[in-house]
Symmetry: C2
Subunit: 232 residues, 2 copies
């Protein structure tokens, strides 16, 4: 399969590397590949410059948002939530049309200080905004409720735990569930919450996730819905 991973941060790198390790054709999309490669300093989170990472992942191409999206059969949005709509505009609606878009981003708003708040929130979500902006794209919100190392290696967290899928297209959710299975997620760890408006609920897990990260002192945890199958 051909994947376009939009975003050069740690989430994008982690997802891209996992996809490549599974044998997929992977391009990472960025606004300006030359500028991305020219950066010599670690990012705001202390991650090494992209060029260092790419040297160890030569099979993963770095392209413009539009070039990556044009050739990708499935799109993965890992851009910062505040810039996701602009990144997807740059990718181009025509390059996204008819494709599955896995939206991993969260609309964290750092403008009001720490901890970040969410924008949009409560009566809207980033997942819904993207679906409205790109009605010909099949948006599936998933994986946005955990650390990126857990996304691609659920065995990092002991015991059963959950990954949610939200979206209006049943076939797209099935395809994403199959991808999750290939990442190591047991099929019964996937909970389909319903349509894309349920993305509100998963994005609204971020505030407690951030507080748990602080309280626990590590990121190798995840939400599990205990008793999910007891009424079945």
């Amino acid at each position: 399969m051909r994947y376009a991973v939009l975003g050069t941060g740690i989430v994008g790198r982690t997802i891209a590397a996992k996809l490549a390790s599974l044998g997929h054709d992977v391009a990472i999309g960025t606004r300006d590949p030359e500028a991305t490669l020219a950066r010599a300093e670690p990012d705001a989170y202390g991650n090494p410059p992209f060029s260092h990472w790419q040297a160890a992942h030569e099979q993963i191409r770095l392209e413009t948002f539009a070039d990556a999206a044009a050739r990708g059969g499935t799109i993965v949005n890992t851009t910062a939530g505040a810039g996701s709509l602009a990144a997807l505009e740059a990718a181009g609606a025509a390059n996204l049309a008819g494709k599955v878009l896995i939206d991993i981003a969260n609309p964290l708003d750092f403008s009001q200080g720490m901890p970040p708040s969410l924008n949009p929130v409560n009566t809207d979500s980033l997942g819904e905004q993207i679906q409205r902006a790109f009605p010909d794209t099949k948006v599936v919100k998933s994986l946005n409720t955990m650390n990126c190392r857990v996304m691609v290696d659920p065995s990092r967290v002991a015991g059963e735990h959950t990954v949610f899928v939200c979206g209006d297209d049943t076939g797209a959710k099935k395809a994403v569930t199959e991808l999750l299975t290939s990442f190591g997620w047991p099929e019964d760890s996937v909970i389909d919450l319903g349509g894309i408006s349920t993305a509100r609920g998963t994005e609204m897990l971020l505030p407690i996730w951030l507080r748990l990260w602080g309280a626990l002192g590590h990121a190798d945890f995840n939400f599990h819905i205990a008793g999910a199958r007891s009424g079945a």
Copy 2:
């Protein structure tokens, strides 16, 4: 111990009955006891009138908010979130001063249709509003992230699952944790998220809780934080 449970709905009844079954002295507080007892119809959720319930729980007194709060050593807020501040004003700051207040309410806002949204949300929480309005009261947000039957009988949900405590007073959180233990919660199922501002995160679990309720078709589920202790 003497408990004042504010609110006559299904959450208040369930908590009050559990406390009474454990041998505590329990009063339920309401705005107008005569009006509460005069109701002959089921409530909006189909629960039987309070008078029917009370006939089976004669040891639990029904009093005004103020009378219940005055005699209660610990206060439990189970009123509807939109009315919690007014109910606590009616209880009276002097009757709440120096006491532990367990806030189980969620600020659900039905004014924008279904599913309900939250108000406040994101940059504030009902727990914080209550703590600000009653600075001499030790507010502990807890139990608000699950169905009330699970609150008092965690064994309804198979496997490990979590109850959060949020509050500025360490001693108050310890007292609430002991109460939770008496309800059947294993001590290591309690996660202390930090100060009362962390109540934002627990209240923001409601949107996904409501969607899970719909997707799963039953309420005997709960959040578990998998891997919480793996970094310890």
